[in-house]
């Protein structure tokens, strides 16, 4: 799942300063699940925005709406009839959603209300952690199902570095050493020999370094 967190109110209030009527737009996918931009967060930010503006003496109309998914044109199309009545759309979706809106409605300012964070999983209620860097060439099969790219601070493929202490990363005791985890799991799996294999330098083209990525399914795209 894509995770995100609400931007600081100060930044948000600044970004909407010029507007007097906005559409606050949530998304019922990832950002709902990670409590960043679903109906509930839309309602909260809506109230906070109105309050913040009233407090400044500049009341602002905030229309609240949550789409099923902001990263699909069909859902975004729903806005076409009503969007003109707003000065701006404030999207609580991840960057994908914001851009889909911007693309579909070129003349409409679109403001991001959240910072898109990472692809992660929920560890427990209210806790999400990064799990995948989307590098495009998955090595989890060799690393006991724990990703060195996303979870080692140095992306070391033949780790751990010398900084690994008591299972924690040198950058912080709150960060697990990915390689400790990998090693423990490999032992669990009886696959320690996988470690001795020297991992070749990674082909980063499949990651962001190869430029913006697209997936085109010949069997689908006409």
């Amino acid at each position: 799942m894509i995770t995100a967190t609400r931007k600081p109110m100060e930044e948000i209030l600044k970004s909407v300063e010029p507007f007097s009527k906005i559409l606050l737009l949530g998304c019922n996918e990832c950002v709902t699940v990670c409590h960043a931009g679903g109906r509930k967060e839309v309602a909260l930010l809506g109230a906070a925005l109105r309050l913040g503006r009233l407090q400044k003496g500049l009341p602002m109309e905030v229309e609240e709406l949550t789409l099923e998914r902001q990263c699909d044109p069909e859902y975004v199309e729903e806005l076409s009839r009503t969007i003109d009545q707003y000065d701006a759309v404030c999207s609580m979706a991840c960057g994908c959603g914001v851009q889909t809106i911007a693309e579909r409605y070129p003349s409409m300012p679109v403001m991001p209300m959240v910072n898109t964070a990472f692809m992660g999983a929920s560890e427990s209620h209210g806790v999400w952690a990064e799990r995948c860097a989307g590098c495009g060439d998955c090595v989890l099969g060799y690393t006991g199902g724990i990703c060195p790219v996303a979870r080692c601070s140095k992306r070391i493929f033949n780790g751990p570095c010398g900084g690994s202490t008591k299972g924690k990363c040198e950058i912080s005791n709150d960060v697990d050493c990915a390689w400790q985890l990998i090693w423990d799991r490999l032992k669990e799996l009886g696959q320690t020999e996988l470690y001795s294999k020297l991992m070749e330098p990674k082909d980063w083209r499949t990651a962001r370094d190869g430029g913006p990525r697209r997936i085109v399914r010949e069997d689908m795209a006409l």
């Binding site: 600081p8 109110m9 100060e10 209030l13 509930k40 309602a43 909260l44 109230a47 906070a48 109105r50 309050l51 913040g52 009233l54 407090q55 400044k56 003496g57 009341p59």
Partner: protein, 142 residues
């Protein structure tokens, strides 16, 4: 601003604070009339949105009144409420409404006196803070 009589919305848990408020009444304990109580089954039900909406509609302060630690009828609803209030306080500072306008308080069902005292003290605090800033703005806008 001495003649300012704050309006305070209290979201009170049926199992403790709401009962305590009834007891306070039956004990004829007085507290300012600005205290207005909304009944909830558990403070765990108090959505941050309710608090914000109350402030948006002109309340000068909001109390979330739940059970004592460990006494929540539903195990930990009061702790969740307390956590939300903590987050709300940060938000309210961010938008210059002031974190002091919302508090989590805890008491048991029998503590009518505690309810009355808590109510009086909070109203006094809010009096210090002055009226909800949006009132002024609203009156100007009007």
């Amino acid at each position: 601003m001495s003649d300012f009589e704050p309006v305070v919305v209290v979201f009170a848990c049926d199992y403790c604070a709401y009962t305590a408020a009834d007891v306070a009444g039956r004990m004829n304990l007085e507290y300012p009339a600005g205290i207005r109580i909304v009944r909830v089954p558990c403070t765990g039900k108090v959505d941050s949105l309710y608090v914000l909406r109350a402030l948006e509609k002109g309340a000068d302060g909001v109390l979330v009144a739940g059970c004592l630690d460990g006494d929540c009828h539903f195990k930990n609803g009061n702790l969740r409420a307390a956590a939300r209030v903590k987050a709300l306080k940060r938000l309210l500072d961010e938008i210059n409404i002031g974190s002091g306008r919302v508090e989590m308080v805890q008491m048991s069902a029998g503590q009518g006196a505690v309810f009355a005292e808590t109510a009086r003290n909070f109203v006094a605090t809010v009096q210090e803070l002055g009226p909800n800033p949006i009132k002024h703005a609203a009156s100007q806008a009007a």
